[in-house]
């Protein structure tokens, strides 16, 4: 270990602001990079499940259900935004 106190680690001989700012920005961006696909996968799984239930409930003709699906897609993505 190079530093001998927490204060020295934070200060880094006056360079602390630069070093910690750089690391903080990096950690934030990397966290987002990992979190975004996980959230996307979760949201899409819920969409597939909801779609499955819709299909099971309605026995409508193909074109009608396709239209409904688009509508459901829209409302779903809207609600998922507020969820996130």
């Amino acid at each position: 270990m190079y530093f001998d106190s927490i204060a020295a680690v934070i200060d880094m001989n006056g360079h602390g602001l630069y070093v910690w700012l750089a690391y903080a920005i990096t950690v934030t961006l990397l966290f987002w990079l990992l979190w975004a696909p996980l959230r996307q996968l979760r949201v899409r799984r819920l969409w597939v499940i909801a779609e499955g239930h819709r299909r099971a409930v309605s026995d409508e003709p193909q074109s009608e259900s396709a239209h409904q699906r688009d509508e459901a897609d829209k409302t779903f993505s809207d609600s998922s935004e507020t969820q996130g």
């Binding site: 690391y23 990079l33 990992l34 899409r44 799984r45 597939v48 499955g52």
Partner: protein
């Protein structure tokens, strides 16, 4: 070997394979990142001239190295997509672009933060920094182009051409500090001959570079899995994955 490559093109197989890859590679990468950051920030000695500000090297250099290598991955996927029309290559290209953009962004921002105490300026329009900024825009261009097209095949074609044209920038970035007078210093890690960086500072740097490669692989595969699910949301294997049927 060939059967493995063939299987990679199969969406359900890739989805499962990618899932198990992420399960062990993600924890391993996070551990490497933590160890590397701890080592670089707290254990490694300061630089004789720059003091502690040089510790930014442990994120700046790995981010830049992997951003460059990642561009080749994206361009290669683009070439495969153009020549063989393999859907999985389109998906890989689309998955790599945002990761590369973020890594290039990290390299630029940390470089600016490092530049202030060492050079005395946040930004200078020298060859290395400017060509790196162009790389950032190339990545963003591919991301934007994928969104701009309704037709997925047309989007993939346009993105593939853009990424192939952009490959010329990569050797320029590498060699910019040797070809032109720049403020940015030449590379410290040398593949031939002795590196210009002391071993006590080099080892954590190499560790961080490996960790960032792992991070690139993990995030690209995770993006690809999310993309695959959406492409095949009507197929039986996705419904099965979601717990239906």
């Amino acid at each position: 070997m060939w059967s493995f490559i063939h299987k990679l093109g199969s969406p359900p197989w890739f989805f499962r394979f990618g899932g198990s890859l992420v399960r062990w590679l993600l924890p391993l990468t996070l551990i490497l990142l933590l160890v590397g950051a701890f080592w670089g920030l707290l254990v490694a000695p300061p630089d004789f001239r720059q003091g502690n500000s040089y510790r930014i090297i442990y994120i700046h250099v790995p981010a830049a190295v992997v951003a460059l290598a990642g561009y080749y991955v994206m361009a290669l996927a683009g070439a495969i997509s153009l020549i063989w029309r393999i859907k999985m290559a389109d998906i890989a290209m689309k998955a790599a672009a945002p990761v590369g953009a973020v890594l290039t962004g990290i390299a630029l921002v940390t470089g600016a933060i490092w530049g202030k105490p060492t050079w005395g300026t946040w930004w200078v329009w020298d060859a290395r920094i400017t060509s790196m900024l162009i790389l950032f825009f190339l990545y963003l261009g591919v991301v934007a182009l994928f969104e701009a097209y309704e037709n997925k095949a047309a989007a993939a074609k346009a993105c593939a051409v853009l990424s192939l044209v952009g490959t010329v920038n990569i050797p320029i970035i590498y060699k910019s500090v040797d070809w032109w007078y720049s403020l940015h210093q030449p590379a410290s890690i040398k593949f031939t001959g002795e590196s210009a960086i002391d071993a006590s500072m080099l080892y954590p740097l190499l560790l961080m570079i490996v960790a960032f490669y792992g991070l690139f692989a993990v995030t690209v595969v995770m993006n690809m899995r999310a993309e695959l699910i959406w492409h095949h949301r009507q197929s039986a294997w996705v419904r099965q994955w979601a717990g239906l049927d």
